[in-house]
């Protein structure tokens, strides 16, 4: 019985790594397309998003089955509940990557994006996602902590991008529609950063049993 459960936990771990890897790929392709890289296509992002959704359902039912059949306790329970939370964050990252990919079609020709910090922001967000998955895969507290710290960078980059977009809107040197789209893209990346932080926090939770939100409550 136990060995079966261990096997199930292992499978869950592999599935999570796969889902994380898909998110990484989707978001990095979206960032590349935004950067004007012609070697990748947005089609791949959409198919990845679809796969990620399917995998989410798969993992969800897997977790439910384990909770019901095995009634895990202590660390096993933490791992499974963290997995349940993580997949929803990963699914959101996948969705937003698809949204970004869709919007890039409209902004690709605009001049502004080259000068903006949006590319840098995209790269920072991609790195955060990659590192949060790394933290999960290696059960690495330090990397998780770094992801949580990096969110500030992405946030400040978002504010900067917003200012830049506002400035170019005032100068009317670009298509205003594209500027709005770029703003949305920037916001998506900012959200992706937040999801990466969530992932990192759940990684920490599954290792230590303490979630960041609990600490806040204690402070209050």
């Amino acid at each position: 019985m136990r060995t079966k459960f261990d096997e199930q936990l292992r499978q869950l771990n592999i599935e999570l790594i796969r889902m994380g890897s898909m998110c990484e790929e989707a978001i990095s392709i979206a960032a590349k397309v935004l950067d004007g890289d012609n070697t990748v296509s947005t089609e791949r992002v959409f198919s990845l998003e679809h796969d990620i959704d399917e995998l989410e359902h798969d993992i969800e039912s897997r977790c439910m089955r384990m909770l019901l059949q095995q009634q895990p306790v202590a660390k096993d329970l933490r791992v499974i509940s963290a997995a349940l939370k993580m997949i929803s964050d990963m699914e959101r990252i996948g969705d937003q990557a698809a949204d970004v990919a869709e919007l890039t079609g409209y902004v690709a020709s605009t001049v502004a994006q080259g000068k903006l910090h949006i590319t840098k922001m995209a790269k920072a967000a991609v790195m955060m996602v990659t590192e949060s998955i790394d933290a999960f895969v290696r059960a690495d507290m330090e990397t998780a902590q770094k992801v949580i710290r990096d969110d500030d960078t992405v946030d400040s980059l978002f504010i900067q991008v917003r200012k830049e977009l506002l400035a170019s809107l005032k100068e009317e040197d670009d298509n205003p529609e594209a500027i709005l789209d770029l703003l949305m893209i920037a916001k998506y990346f900012e959200r992706i950063g937040d999801h990466a932080v969530n992932l990192a926090e759940w990684v920490q939770y599954s290792i230590t049993g303490v979630h960041k939100s609990d600490e806040h409550h204690q402070d209050l």
Partner: protein, 570 residues
């Protein structure tokens, strides 16, 4: 366990023996006493009968108090005398069994149990000569009563015997087992124990030796394998059917970017291979191999390219795992890219002059050119074909240097005079641009291949003039020391930016692409320098500031060939 069994057996046997002995003794004794009693009754009756005949009934009256019960019964069954009861209270005894029997046979014996079976009465009846019956009876405990009376002492005896036997059994069983417990199984043959154990001990000893040998062999195999794989340049991963890592080597961990402090194997907990790399091609390859298919892919890791080959391990048609091999193909990939670029460039460079030549020739053929203009057109065709020849010549040189099969012998070459010679050849070119061309230094002799050294220095000087500003300066300095010889070509030209410095030695690479046509040249000059220098074992240094000029430095090492050269000089 064994002690317990021996103990129980001894105790059990003692208990059974005790029980059997007692019951046998009891049965024998009881039947003896029973027989004795009947005999006594009979004797008493017979004595009484004799006494009665001789002395009359007075004998009965004088019976002592302690006597057995004696009854005298008349022929009709009426009780005439009884020493325990008043005869009048007793009813007729004619129907009593012993009386009836005695009347018929002369004497009889019967046993009657009391209501409770606790006691039994034994009657002995004797017919007297006058027909009266004399009966003597005695009451005694029945066997059941005797037995039940004996239960308690019997239990006490059994208990005390068992106590003693228990102590003894514990001791004895311990004593039997003790040598077994003290067996030294590490050295089975050194034991002095029961002879019966000898074959077992020999067998154990033999097995131990076999196990030791096998363990040693297995360990050696494992070490051998680890050695081989660790010194392999290629990365190697073994995974089981669940995708968990069974074995790795240093290269694999290094190229997959696993930090050394990260322990992959923590006890029995094995990591899944996807924790090392989770990119899509990697996952796909692992999936394929675990389904029993061979798979190959190219992974890009940290800017390097690796050919990942995965082979399934199949036993009895079942996939047991996989072998993943990673081969660094970065160099291959790079040279492939270079070659592709070179081919593309060569075709382009060859096509340009050919197109011009063909164009001019076509115009002449069609008669669109006035006869007086023909020399001019022919001149252009000549120029272009010269360019083509130069280009093909350069390509041949480069490919020869590339092949590394040039059959040149090293000889003593004076770099200073070589430079002066080159300066002379380039004199006219320098003058036409108004460039001041200087060669400084002193005679410096190195062992090298003259033809290639000439080619290298010539190309550097040629470039220094070509890419110089008008009325600029080119200085060639030759410096020699005991360890090395330097040739430095310094110009005041356009200079090369830091980004371009890395690429100028590539074939057909031009810093200023827009002006290449005016300057001329094939774009292969520095490439020839690079390949030539590599052939000679000469280092090239490049310092440059954009807009100010460049300094190319060729360094010949001299350590080894210096003495040989001195001899030659003599």
């Amino acid at each position: 366990m064994m002690t317990k069994r021996i103990f129980r057996a001894v105790l059990g046997i003692s208990f059974v023996a005790c029980l059997a002995g007692m019951s046998i003794a009891f049965t024998v004794l009881y039947s003896y006493f029973d027989g004795q009693l009947s005999k006594e009754l009979k004797n008493e009756a017979e004595y009484l009968a004799v006494s009665l005949e001789n002395y009359g009934t007075q004998v009965l009256e004088d019976l002592p108090e302690s006597s057995e019960r004696v009854t005298l019964i008349d022929t009709n069954g009426t009780v005439l005398f009884d020493n325990f009861f008043d005869p009048k209270t007793l009813d007729n005894h004619a129907d009593r069994e012993e009386i009836r029997q005695a009347m018929l046979t002369g004497s009889s014996k019967t046993v009657r149990n009391s209501d409770t079976f606790q006691k039994q009465t034994v009657y002995y009846a004797l017919r007297l000569d006058d027909g009266k019956i004399l009966r003597v009876s005695s009451t005694q405990y029945t066997i059941v009563a005797v037995m039940s009376g004996m239960v308690q002492p019997f239990l006490w005896i059994t208990f005390s015997i068992l106590m003693v036997v228990g102590l003894f059994a514990a001791h004895i069983s311990h004593k039997i087992v003790e040598p077994l417990n003290q067996l030294d199984l590490e050295h089975p043959e050194n034991n002095e124990s029961y002879d019966e154990l000898a074959p077992l001990l020999t067998k154990i000893s033999w097995q131990q030796r076999t196990i030791r040998e096998q363990l040693l062999a297995a360990k050696q195999k494992q070490e051998e394998f680890q050695m081989i794989t660790d010194y392999m340049q290629e990365g190697l991963l073994l995974i089981d059917s669940g995708g968990e890592i069974l074995s790795t080597n240093h290269s694999a961990l290094k190229l997959l970017g696993v930090k050394p402090e990260l322990q992959i194997f923590v006890g029995a907990h094995r990591e899944n291979v996807l924790t090392l790399n989770r990119t899509e091609p990697f996952c796909r390859t692992v999936d394929a191999v675990l389904k029993g298919k061979r798979a190959e892919t190219v992974l890009e890791l940290d800017g390097s390219y690796y050919q990942m080959s995965a082979n399934p391990v199949v036993t009895d048609g079942k996939v047991e795992g996989g072998v993943l091999l990673f081969v660094d193909i970065t160099q291959q990939k790079q040279s492939e890219t270079l070659r592709r670029e070179f081919t593309a460039n060569v075709s382009h460079e060859l096509k340009t002059p050919l197109t011009s030549i063909s164009g001019f020739a076509e115009i002449i053929k069609d008669g669109f050119v006035r006869p007086e203009d023909i020399p001019q057109f022919a001149g252009k065709i000549f120029e272009e074909s010269q360019r083509l020849i130069a280009l093909v010549g350069d390509i041949i040189k480069i490919s020869q240097l590339d092949e590394d099969t040039l059959p040149y012998e090293k000889e003593a070459v004076d770099l200073y005079s070589l430079c002066q010679e080159i300066a002379k050849r380039l004199q006219s070119a320098a003058e036409s641009k108004g460039i001041d061309f200087q060669v400084a230094g002193q005679s410096t002799i190195v062992s090298t291949v003259r033809k290639i050294a000439d080619e290298v220095i010539y190309n550097l000087c040629d470039n220094a003039i070509k890419y110089n500003r008008p009325n600029g300066k080119v200085e060639v300095a030759v410096v020699g020391s005991s360890q090395k010889a330097l040739v430095q070509v310094r110009d005041t030209g356009i200079g090369i930016s830091a980004v371009d410095q890395r690429r100028v030695f590539e074939r057909f690479y031009r810093v200023d692409k827009s002006h290449s046509k005016q300057i001329g040249g094939t774009g292969l000059g520095l490439s020839i320098v690079k390949h030539g220098a590599a052939y000679l074992g000469v280092q090239i240094g490049l310092e440059s500031t954009e807009g100010l000029g460049s300094i190319f430095t060729l360094t010949w090492p001299r350590e080894n060939d210096a003495p040989a050269l001195e001899m030659k000089q003599d």
